[in-house]
Amino acid sequence: MRHDMPNSEHAIVVEQLCKRYGTLLAVDGVSFTVARGELFAFLGPNGAGKSTTAEIIETIRAPTSGRVTVLGMDVTRSKAKVVRRIGVLPQDFSSFDRLTVRESLSYYAQVFGCDADVDALMDLTHLRSKANARFNTLSGGLKQRLGIAAALVNDPEVVFLDEPTTGLDPHARHAVWNVLKGLKDRGKTVFLTTHYMDEAELLADTVAIISKGRIVATDSPARLTEQHANHMWLTLGSSDAAAPGLIRQMGFDATRSSDESIGVPVNNADDVRAILGEIERAGLSLRGMEVRKPNLEEVFLKLTEEHDSDAANEGSK
């Protein structure tokens, strides 16, 4: 797990962060750093503590213990200074129903006391055509894009986006991704909270995975898949009932999925050749095959399941 020593290159430093709600320890000793200019994805299943952690860093919630600094400033003691240098898209962003897109952005600009170029912000988030539409008439995707634009009115150095694509259709998700890529290109530090692995894999420089309030892995998506899933994934198109059993007899873990395909984790090309040869020798049918590297989603599932079972074992002792 990567956890660099804090230094001036870090936009965000989280140290031994805890948040307790009554008897529930929602965040349990979380530590990580986010480098300036990187897009950092914070992943976790629902209820893992990712939004609570994000909201503490965003100055929305107060920590029970631990320390968080953003751009070198303590978020609890220097909240007023921190909020001027960050931009936040909170989870389920909402704004004043009867204000138009342009009025909403002008309002946030006035609140920050900055001369934001509202037209440029609308262009960046592809909202220019909706400039005079009221918030309560916008679709979910447009509301999220307005939220992102509102998070940028003060030209922040660090941008927090808490589940920006949840509930959006594929077109709207891609539109938001393009905005995020644009932010990264402009050198902003982006802290992205999401439970979409494809989003993190596509956009993030660094990923941190949280499960049951604890960080279980932090690294780049590529290194995480390399470290935690050092196998390849062979998918065979065969409806032959004997095929999975035959592959298992060879010592591989074969599982048939609902679309009749058979999934087999393999270590190298020799394993693939051996399995294909055995199927041919047995005279079993084969409609097609695919070999691919495992993705972040599989790493995420593996790590969170491992952590869940470790936590369950600790609890039963």
């Binding site: 909170p90 004043f96 204000l99 006035q110």
Partner: protein
């Protein structure tokens, strides 16, 4: 506290208010409609005027004199009831709450009493009435008074005891003059409390507070802009009520320095109560229910629509615990009775209450995501 931020919040809230037609209606039009409706219903004409069906079985010059006496000051408008009709049946069928029957021998008996001077002779005028009617008692009292006056005149001597009325008011006031200050107080209360509750519930329920908590807006900025917004609405609402009252009912009210001061006190009091009630109203629906549970008893028990003195002693004592009672009394003392000492007394109690609930509400109001 940042004036720029307060101005931004104020602009947002006024724009939202202007664009929400139902809020416009309930804040501005509804109190005006109440003034028009209640003013029209309860403002008594210069002279009382009642319909009185009379079955004159005597059909004589004497009975004609009696009917003349009943209509002399236009108190009663006589409707003749045919002689062959049962008076009780007539009252039921024609939905009349009072029918007077002049007996057939009225002229004969009058002649014996007045002509022959036989003081043992008297006449009985029967009236059929509906005791379930709310206005019949007034009509019977008026009828009694007219009959008593006729009897007095028949004695030929002037009355010994007469009543002379002196009003505690410097001018003759009507119901509408007492009603308008109550409606002003009610309109400010519903607007201040309702807006404070609904706005806070909207901020919490829709998550706007989470966004605002990550901006330079402070709790003080937000509260000051809320108070200013509510003050503007209250001033507009008060002016609208007064303009309509002057234009339609030609009210005679004293508009002085006390009025804006009491408006400010009331706004602070009910915005404070709204802040205190917010934890019980985290959603728009429950905000409305909580608001109504608080507003309606206050509205009816604080002397807005009728004097507190009309209520049983227990409810009168309860009314004196309600802040709206002191606002109502302060406004009436200032605008109707022009009594500075009483105004100061009632406004002082309301101001003390406002200070307590506003300070408590400020401490209770959270300005972060810890909800």
């Amino acid at each position: 506290m940042t004036p720029r931020i307060i101005a931004a919040n104020l602009t947002v809230r006024l724009k939202s208010f202007y664009r929400e037609k139902s809020a416009m209606f309930f804040t501005l039009a509804f109190p005006v409609i109440l003034v028009l409706v209640f003013g029209t219903i309860f403002t008594k004409p210069e002279h009382l005027n009642f319909d009185l069906p009379v079955q004159d079985l005597s059909h004589s010059a004497a009975s004609a004199r009696l009917l003349d006496a009943l209509t002399t000051d236009h108190t009663f408008r006589i409707t003749p009831v045919p002689a062959g009709v049962d008076a009780t049946q007539y009252a039921r069928e024609h939905k009349q709450n009072l029918v007077l029957v002049v007996p057939e021998n009225y002229a004969v008996l009058e002649a014996k009493r007045l002509g022959a001077g036989d003081v043992s002779v008297s006449v009985r005028l029967m009236y059929v009435h509906d005791p379930s009617s709310t206005s019949v008692n007034t009509k019977i009292q008026v009828l009694d008074a007219i009959v008593a006056a006729m009897n007095q005149r028949m004695t030929g001597t002037p009355p010994f005891i007469t009543l002379v009325a002196t009003s505690i008011l410097s001018e003759q006031y009507r119901f509408i003059e007492f009603f308008v200050p109550g409606i002003i107080a009610m309109a400010i209360m519903t607007s201040a409390l309702g807006n404070a509750l609904n706005m806070n519930a909207e901020l919490l329920q829709k998550g706007i507070l989470r966004k605002l908590a990550t901006t330079p807006i402070t709790r003080t900025d937000w509260l000051v802009s809320s108070i200013l917004y509510q003050l503007i609405l209250s001033i507009v609402s008060t002016v609208a009520i007064l303009l309509v009252s002057y234009a339609v009912f030609d009210v005679r009210l004293h508009i002085g320095a006390w009025l804006p001061l009491i408006v400010v006190i009331e706004v602070i009091a009910f915005v404070g109560i709204g802040m205190l009630l917010t934890p019980f109203a985290k959603e728009a629906e429950s905000a409305s229910a909580v608001g109504n549970a608080f507003l309606f008893p206050m509205m009816f028990l604080s002397g807005t629509f009728f004097p507190v003195e009309m209520m049983p002693p227990l409810l009168q004592s309860f009314a004196k615990l309600l802040p709206l009672y002191y606002v109502n009394e302060a406004l009436r003392a200032a605008m109707v009775f022009v009594d500075d000492a009483a105004t100061l007394r009632f406004a002082g109690v309301a101001a003390g209450f406002a200070a307590i609930v506003f300070v408590a509400g400020t401490f209770k109001t959270r300005w972060d995501g810890e909800t």
